[in-house]
Amino acid sequence: MSIIKTKYGRRSFLKSSALAGGGMVLGFSWLASCQNRTEEEILAMPKEWFEINSYLKIGENGVVSIYAPNPEFGQNVRTSMPMLIAEELDLDWKKVIVEQAPYHAEKFGFQLTGGSRGIMSRWEPLRMVGASARHMLREAAAQAWQVPVTEITTEKGVLYHQASGRSAGYGEMASAATSIPVPEEVTLKKVEDFRIIGKSHKNVDGKDIVTGKPMFGMDYHEEGMLIAMIEHPPAFGMTLKSVDDTAVKAMPGIQDVVTIKSYKEGFEKGGFDTNAFPELVAIVGNSTWEVMQAKKQLQVEWEPFAAYTETVRGFRGDVTTKNVPGGLESSEGHKAQMDALAAKPGKVVRKDGNPEAVFKSAAKVIERTYTAPFLAHNCMEPMNTFAHVQDDKIRIATPLQIPSLIVPTIASSLDIPPENIEMEMTRMGGGFGRRAYGHYIVEAALISKQVNAPVKLVYTREDDMTNGIYRPTYQATYRAALDENNNLIAFHVKAGGIPESPLFANRFPAGALDNYLAEEWSVDSNITIGAFRAPRSNFMAGAEQSFLDEIAEEMGKDPIEFRLELLKRAQDNPVGETNDYDAERYAGVLQLVREKSGWGQNDASLHRGVSAYFCHNSYAAHVLDLTVENGKPVVQKVTCAIDCGIVVNPDAAVNMAEGGITDGIGNAFYGEMTFKDGVPRKNNFHQYRMIRMGEAPKEIEVHFVQNEIDPTGLGEPPFPPVFGAVANALYKATGKRQYHQPFLGEKTVLG
């Protein structure tokens, strides 16, 4: 049980309606959101709503509407976040309607989908929303019944006064509750009293999804809306020179061809304003097909740009200088650049003990280098946005992960005051980090302004895949020093990438070794990169966990036992003070996966690989069982153990882990983007190989460590360690270690 002050986040208790204290009028958008409901459901809708706070409306008949504050891209927060409110408010989940909140920082706080931070950041605030509303309802009942508030209990949307035998539904007290002051502090439930949290609840959007209701940005439609498409340079390192639009403008259904510049001179970009192609041509017309045809005929001249430097104000206010070189880059050149830097000393980011000396005197040194290519996110729904600029106002409907961070850019590029930016957050057809970068919203807005009409900007798959914001290409060299008794006495990692280093210097095995050295380097590039499910971890985990597997073998140790020994050292007597993981919880997932996978009782036909990693405040371990059939690797089973604290919606959490595992296997085997003279070599799914059903694991078993720790991340943590589990199982199957992703690429069979 924890008592928390409601002062923190109190702004979220603002009411949105001027009719506070009384009934409120339903807005049009709310009614529109009901259109998919059956007649029976609509009849069950309240005649009057009472707004308790910005998240909650209670109808006179006890139906409760909850705003889901964060954008949804498949992580199921539209179910799990309302569950947090419903828990503390003791609601009957059957009477809950979930609505999507629009972008509104003051009412809904930081509306972020990313960094596996959703549930973690909303855990206390949303429960507080529910608990304070419950208090107000109890207070209203106490006043109505003239009894002490402490004697009022609640269950499933009903208030009770046991001594007098009175009871009332929340709907009956909702009107009175609106005039009760928000309490100064509230008491949150004990974990053992949870009734909704920890029990599986089906996706509130399940029915709309399986019946094909329009819910994605791509499905947004308004009368009179035009369709826009962009043409961006064919290569990184190039920009717009000139456009000849005469022929295209005469094509059927084409309204206009315009050029846009995404940023004003002197605009200081934010960390998510990454954009390789800020000058574009846009074609605007009546229908998607007509615009697509015109796009093929458009005559554009492109030219190389010169190197430039820009400052970027990061997420936390930190200003960094970014060098963007000119030139047309190729993957072969990247490889040579990375090898050259990897051969030189890097920037030392952590050093414990005297690793250099120990390496010199070691009986044996093992050195291995790992690489991974650029990756495209390939969200199933290509980038798109609806925008309508009218004077100094704009209406937007967009699939976007972090709406607040694009507001300053829109305000600057369109001369629109931030308060005049109205943004609807549509469901996203995938995100994976890609939709944290909202340049496509600025583009849609600029196009709408120029053609003076509502437009929906639609990227083709080819536009989407060749636009940048890729997962960077990385390289890491690991060295281990062993003494004459095969004890690990020093550890060295030197990692870098284009254009960023993937290294986390203070992660395991840092803290478990007396002599440890971490160095990093990076190479500038004009190919843009962005967050991709578990940024940097998604490479480091695979490299590190493959290397640990190899040195365990060299030392003659069981790979799980070897990791547990290191973790025990880190727990009992850690080296250094800035280790960013909890060694006990880390060991916990390894112990759980060892038990659940039946590790040690191995079936000889199964090749097993183990891997574990910590990122986004959570711990995940996998045992992956692989067979080889006609030269083709088949993942038979993945057993997974996760410690992410309390699990809010267990079946949805299992789904998320299954997806992360499948995604990891797909990218480990096939994921790759390469470049030739600045041109991405793949532009659609005939070239970019994605994992398909027959290649997914035949079975996935997910286990969560049971504890009462506040929830931490889940969307990302199961993903990075999969790469190591695949590599280690492949080694068992083939006798060959895997150092370079993708492990299969376009090949179908090993070897």
Binding site: M218, E381, R427, G429, R692, M693
Partner: protein
């Protein structure tokens, strides 16, 4: 431009479009049926799957001029109340994550189950090979297809 009389979800629909327009864009742009998705435009991802007669077809490469009088069924017309056994199985297994590919998956699965009501795992994998799910819900899709095969 030319006039086409189409039979979509049991209703007669008339559109006046370029004959080369893929059925996908006729559905989405001209008939406001948004359940059929654009994912790749080259029949490589399956998000645009509809039924032409009883056959699953990728609508993104099917010119409207080739539809003729064949019956077209989209996700919106698969069942009256969204209660086709395959849709129900999808809900039972809570398959979806982002959900974008799922209508195409469902349309592909329903046509497949009609032709092969009791499929093996290998047959399911082969039949669903053309449908990408970027979120990686394949194991649930497969389970849902097996459940639907049992109940229908």
């Amino acid at each position: 431009m030319a006039i086409f009389n189409l039979n979509i979800n049991g209703k007669k629909q008339q559109v006046d479009v370029d004959p080369a327009t893929p059925l996908l864009w006729v559905l989405r742009d001209h008939l406001n049926l948004y359940g059929t998705k654009y994912g790749c435009g080259i029949a490589q991802c399956g998000a645009c799957t509809v039924h032409l007669g009883e056959t699953a077809m990728r609508s993104c490469m099917l010119p409207v001029s080739q539809v003729g009088n064949q019956k077209v069924t989209t996700i919106e017309g698969l069942s009256e109340n969204g209660d086709h056994p395959v849709q129900q199985a999808w809900l039972e297994h809570d398959v979806a994550q982002c959900g974008f590919c799922q209508t195409g998956q469902i349309m592909n699965a329903t046509a497949f189950l009609k032709a092969n009501p009791k499929p093996s795992d290998e047959q399911i994998e082969a039949a669903m090979h053309g449908n990408i799910c970027r979120c990686g819900t394949y194991s649930r899709i497969k389970s849902a297809i097996k459940t639907a095969a049992k109940t229908s």
